[in-house]
């Protein structure tokens, strides 16, 4: 398989959020700001790359009937590693005692374990492909997921808080609906519509 195509497919053609509709729970739950979206996306990317790597490495050694439990244990270990690392290094509150990135993402970090994207890639891709192809696939899909979360987070932050990356550009409040959970559904719906238009035009 062409490795470049393998890498770029995660962004538009097989974007986990806009096309495959996987991992929507963290997508809707963590994207009230652009930075949260990026942090969540990168945490997931790390788990995806590492689990794809390990699964493709040992897939031949695992008996068929216990492959799902084995994959889950591998994925859960990497999620715990991310959780520990973020708790240690992304846990500094802001100058006015704003909650740290780790506190803001909260429960959604441990919940990467049950993110369909991660197990889906391990089961459907990494277990059948070579180590390098699986690594690139994990990176592409992960960054595609990050891209989707960044897009949704930016839209919601711009419309909802009138700021981007915590830099305010309007006085007062934005359209508060977009910061609240229903706004996540609305913004995602419109983004999916736009992305479908875009991918139709490209192909």
């Amino acid at each position: 398989m062409n490795q470049l195509k393998n890498f770029t497919k995660g962004f538009i053609k097989e974007n986990p959020v806009f096309v495959l509709f996987l991992g929507l729970c963290p997508t809707l739950g963590t994207t009230n700001s652009a930075i949260n979206g990026i942090a969540m996306g990168l945490a997931t990317t790390f788990v995806l790359v590492m689990s794809n790597f390990v699964v493709s490495l040992i897939a031949g050694l695992i008996p068929n009937k216990v492959r799902i439990p084995s994959y889950i244990v591998i994925i859960a270990s990497f999620v715990t590693i991310v959780d520990l690392l973020m708790k240690a290094f992304l846990n500094t509150p802001g100058p006015h005692f704003e909650p740290s990135t780790y506190d803001q993402l909260g429960i959604f970090i441990p919940l990467i374990v049950v993110n369909c994207i991660v197990l889906g890639r391990a089961e459907a891709f990494a277990s059948k492909n070579s180590v390098l192809t699986s690594l690139i696939d994990g990176l592409g899909i992960g960054l595609g997921f990050t891209f989707a979360l960044l897009l949704l987070g930016s839209v919601r932050e711009i419309l909802g808080s009138g700021s981007i990356f915590n830099m305010k550009f309007i006085q007062g409040d934005g359209i508060l609906l977009f910061v609240s959970p229903p706004g996540a559904f609305l913004a995602l719906g419109f983004l999916i519509m736009l992305m479908n238009r875009l991918s139709k035009k490209i192909s």
Partner: protein, 191 residues
């Protein structure tokens, strides 16, 4: 490599090895991150003290004591400089609109509010979360006020506090938490 057959021993052996390797890795990472995690948590608490208390040279966290008032007990953290009490930070909470609001309030020895930091809140984004200093200047109105002659309830209820527009419940809860902390400071008995 040929796929291993799903025999009983194969399956047990595989699962055993996978879990063994995973737990070994996790143990290693846990040891590696233990100290940074501890210092991050410590930094968080000391940062709260630095915000709400005037200058001090002791360790408020180690000198914590509990004070009971009415049904609640409160954690008190004294700030001392040159053997003189400069202020006391009180941990307090109340029920807001979206859940518990936890505050840490820095009082000067005479009961004047120095500064307040929000430890935890689940208030509505864009409305109730204006209690956070990063979101609005609303909480500044409490600084330097003494609840003795600054009635800690919203103007609607006859107090001196300007409520957050469209978030009266949050504002009431915030005031209630401050009032509880003040009462505990003034009238509470040590426990």
């Amino acid at each position: 490599m040929a796929k291993k057959e799903s025999t009983f021993t194969n399956m047990i052996l595989t699962l055993f090895l996978v879990t063994l390797l995973s737990s070994a890795t996790l143990g290693f990472v846990y040891e590696l991150t233990r100290e940074p995690i501890e210092s991050a948590l410590l930094y968080k608490t000391t940062m709260a003290f630095n915000i709400v208390l005037p200058e001090f040279d002791n360790k408020p966290l180690d000198e914590m004591y509990r004070v009971a008032y009415k049904k609640d007990t409160f954690n008190f953290y004294p700030a001392v400089k040159n053997n003189e009490i400069k202020g006391i930070a009180v941990e307090t909470s109340s029920l807001g609109y979206g859940g518990e609001i936890r505050l840490i309030v820095g009082f000067l020895p005479d009961g004047t509010i120095n500064e307040v930091a929000v430890l935890e809140n689940k208030e509505t984004a864009g409305l109730g979360d204006k209690i956070l200093k990063s979101k609005s200047d609303w909480s500044v109105q409490f600084e330097g006020r003494n609840p003795k002659d600054f009635k800690l309830s919203v103007t609607k209820d006859g107090g001196d506090v300007d409520a957050i527009t469209a978030s009266t419940i949050t504002s009431r809860a915030y005031c209630e938490a401050l009032q509880k902390a003040y009462d505990a400071l003034m009238k509470g008995g040590e426990k």
